[in-house]
Symmetry: C2
Subunit: 379 residues, 2 copies
């Protein structure tokens, strides 16, 4: 009789998996996940006692969701997750990610798990205070295209800020390329935005992308802050979710973070693997400390549906204990004419992200930005 030492608390967290196949097939896959996500060991060889009784996953409920899918809830002891995000992800969807026909639909996390995380430092209220935008939707744009010089990017950043864009971010493709090295670009763009703020009385911030070498992310973040950057764009698909948490938790940085979905698409584009939009862009992004979650709005250049986008907005605000709600930031081919429809669906707690589309409206970026800001403020 093997008893786990120290004794387990008895507290468990739950994962709802959406599983393809008949009821019997789905139950077989769920029973398999109970083992695969924990002990990864033949059930008949487990030592009797706590391991088969408590350490392995336990099926808590089954709901027919639609057609060939069943939603099966599995619980795991909080101790399996070992107190950090990486191990939590490992238990949620480690080896099971390699099996077809199963995806993570929703996480149900007790205080014993949530208390391990600080979550977003700013969240919706904090970002609104920082940007002096107590109630209106906020605006974001990106300096682009790749291939311009840092001077040209700084000019764009100045115009965006002068026209009233709240958050001016690096296009996610900008890194440390020879035509615009990271340090040069960040210093120039941060300075340009501060100059525009001083001139116009606005409170815009510049967010460089930290899609960077693993051993340079923290150092680049500190550099960016030192030259006046006002936040960070972080692509967890490229650099991992937990480094975003490290940046968010760092009291010496203490700047807002936007999650960028580069390379993360494979986790959501296939309905029979990965994560639901709700969990990936909502729950996990909040646990990992982002204050805003960027995703492609329906009807743009990408293929997320209206319902998937609405589920992201739900995941960005639904109850997650003390973990703050964050801003849905739909983009990906947005244009001015979409604003009324988006406000109708999302309400005012969102950040409009318009990139290329902003270059078409008026002769200059400052005029286009001002037009965009005015339109959003008066709707």
């Amino acid at each position: 009789m093997h008893l786990v030492t120290p004794p387990l608390s008895g507290e468990r967290f739950q994962v709802i998996y959406r599983i393809n196949g008949s009821y019997d097939e789905a139950m077989a896959k769920a029973q398999d996940a109970c083992i695969e996500q924990t002990v990864e060991f033949p059930a008949d060889l487990l030592p009797a006692g706590d391991i088969p009784n408590h350490i392995i996953g336990r099926i808590e409920g089954v709901n027919k969701s639609f057609n060939d899918f069943n939603d099966i809830t599995i619980s795991y002891p909080v101790e399996d997750a070992g107190g950090d995000l990486v191990q939590l992800l490992n238990v949620i969807f480690g080896n099971t990610s390699i099996k077809p026909g199963i995806r993570v639909e929703k996480l149900i996390l007790p205080t014993a798990i949530l208390s391990k995380f600080q979550g977003p430092r700013f969240g919706r209220n904090g970002l609104r205070s920082l940007l002096k935008a107590p109630a209106r939707p906020m605006l974001c744009s990106a300096i682009k295209p790749m291939g311009l010089t840092s001077e040209q990017f700084a000019d764009q950043a100045f115009q965006f800020a002068s026209g009233g864009i709240d958050i001016i971010k690096d296009d996610h493709g900008l890194a440390d390329q020879p035509f615009s090295p990271f340090r040069e670009r960040v210093a120039r763009c941060a300075e340009a935005v501060q100059r525009a703020n001083a001139k116009s009385g606005s409170h815009s911030i510049y967010m460089p992308s930290l899609g960077s070498r693993a051993d340079q992310i923290i150092e680049k973040a500190y550099y960016a802050k030192s030259v006046g950057a006002g936040g960070f764009l972080v692509p967890p698909g490229l650099v991992g979710f937990d480094i975003m948490r490290v940046l968010a938790d760092d009291n010496s940085l203490a700047l807002p973070i936007m999650m960028h979905p580069s390379m993360i698409g494979s986790f959501v584009t296939c309905p029979t693997t990965g994560f639901s939009h709700y969990t990936l862009f909502g729950q996990l992004t909040r646990l990992a400390g982002a204050d805003a979650t960027i995703y492609p709005n329906w009807g743009g250049r990408f293929a997320f549906s209206r319902e998937e986008c609405i589920s992201i907005a739900a995941g960005s605000q639904e109850d997650l204990g003390h973990i703050k709600p964050i801003f849905p930031t739909p983009g990906g081919g947005m244009t001015i004419d979409r604003i009324p429809e988006m406000l109708d669906v999302y309400g005012k707690d969102l950040i409009f992200l318009m990139g290329g589309g902003l270059h078409r409206i008026k002769p200059t970026l400052v005029e286009s930005s001002a037009y965009f800001r005015n339109l959003v403020e008066n709707m």
Copy 2:
């Protein structure tokens, strides 16, 4: 007329994308990727000159692959990739990951890209030298199940090493749980393997898992080395590919690395998104510095096909300039009776990974391990 400063070298790397749909549909998706993966900007608004002529992707060829798929080769200037793995991945499959019906099939990387990477420190020859196994297939097993104490894991590790298992790794689910804290487990298991080596004259190594908080991975690696660990198990799906490269490149660590596929499955289980098995488990894993690539063999608990496994073995050794070939390490429900078939398919340049199956063969783990070793040596 916008010229890029400094001027581009003219060297380009290629990505072969497998794209779903008719020829016309596939070409439209490819043209879209040429923009999306680089400038992410309306083509008609790009300043004339280098950006549309050279910075954006360029379609280099189309091959009908099978049924509804076309393989389309797109080239990008090496400068877009900015000299590091994170930005290279960003250009290969950043935003395009969010679009359905397109996956990365193969990378064709010129010296200008490959020279930025050291790749595996050991590779096949280096690992064979280290483990004093000049020609035979090597053996790997894992301490498990989660829920045992560090003392029990150390006893398993001692038995595995005494029986001739070359690499004894943490089960990937073992992290920093209360029932076996990381430092305690690593110290005990490393000591146990060294004790077994001293007694039996073998050269086994213990590899703890670094599926850990982003801000603790390097520190845990140094700790592990200081107490005698002989390598690292790294799950890039959980912690990012580039931190594996950082560990591999670190001359003060200088220990071999095995790639574990936890949470990476969503990139390969769906045939219309993500990466091919060849690229993910072969090319990217080598670029990121692993000396062995772990994946589920066909016919075990997972669903990779025989052909997919063979393509991983091909990706583990095919030409990648100075980047060394590495060991395919098929596991995931392997049993003794599979050995002849696996040797037939893979040849002797492989690591057999048997976990749970090893607990069934003989009354003790040391006997089972010795039986397994003997069987493999005499085939």
